[in-house]
Symmetry: C2
Subunit: 143 residues, 2 copies
């Protein structure tokens, strides 16, 4: 249908390249990730290793969850833990290797606000977000 045509036409524009995607490193202290997530305002961001390979996601809730002790909030984890201690491992089926498979990507975006894109060696290339697909659907309806 029309909807497939418009997705195929725009497929080269959907990738947000790695250099403009906020991310943190597996061996960063949690305090660093706490600061980055507070300042960039993105809900969840990718976690990479020292070879720029994609390792998973991190959000503020994953950090604050470690700060909740029995009856008080503790700052200890910000100094004593690293991103690797809280990173959420990705669902291997929700990692994109081929940005031209727009139907598979649409299917994955139903349950994921964004999808990481990696090359054959697992190097992080960027993300595809719901917003870009919503923009295409909106243009389809309003034209």
């Amino acid at each position: 249908p029309e909807i497939q045509r418009i997705l195929l036409e725009n497929r080269e524009h959907y990738l947000i390249p790695a250099d403009v995607v906020a991310n943190v490193n597996m061996d960063n202290r949690l305090g660093h990730a706490f600061l980055v997530l507070t300042k960039v305002r993105y809900a969840k961001i990718p976690v990479l290793d020292n070879d720029s390979k994609f390792c998973g996601f991190i959000s503020l809730a994953m950090i604050t969850d470690k700060m909740l002790a029995l009856d008080h909030v503790s700052l200890e984890p910000l100094d004593h833990l690293t991103v690797a201690d809280v990173v959420e491992k990705p669902d291997p089926d929700a990692v994109v290797h081929d940005i031209v498979d727009v139907e598979q990507i649409l299917h994955l975006l139903v349950d994921n606000p964004f999808l990481p894109v990696v090359d054959r060696e697992g190097i992080f290339e960027g993300i595809i977000t719901r917003r870009e697909y919503m923009k295409s659907f909106n243009e389809l309806v309003h034209n």
Copy 2:
């Protein structure tokens, strides 16, 4: 086009009713909102007043931002501030009063992951999320 037909057909099913939407109250302490946002895992949730009127949104980043002092992280704000001190006021144009205007809702969902729905007096009725629209688009492509 087809896309409009499918949105109009499903329009009654897009609203997630207020009783299943996590929210906090304007006069809650920030520590309470910190706990709720950590546990429910939603990035942003609605803030209501004592008359169930919609007042705005809150996310963990709005709370952790207040915790960042000059060279350290402080727990003080969790006890001394309330939700009202950090609530993000809504853009009046991004509040839905009529859930059957599917084209206007699609337009607003391009830049907003979800939209609050209120009645004529401003009472909170629920939210409409990108996920439900993405689900319809996915069905359109895969059928």
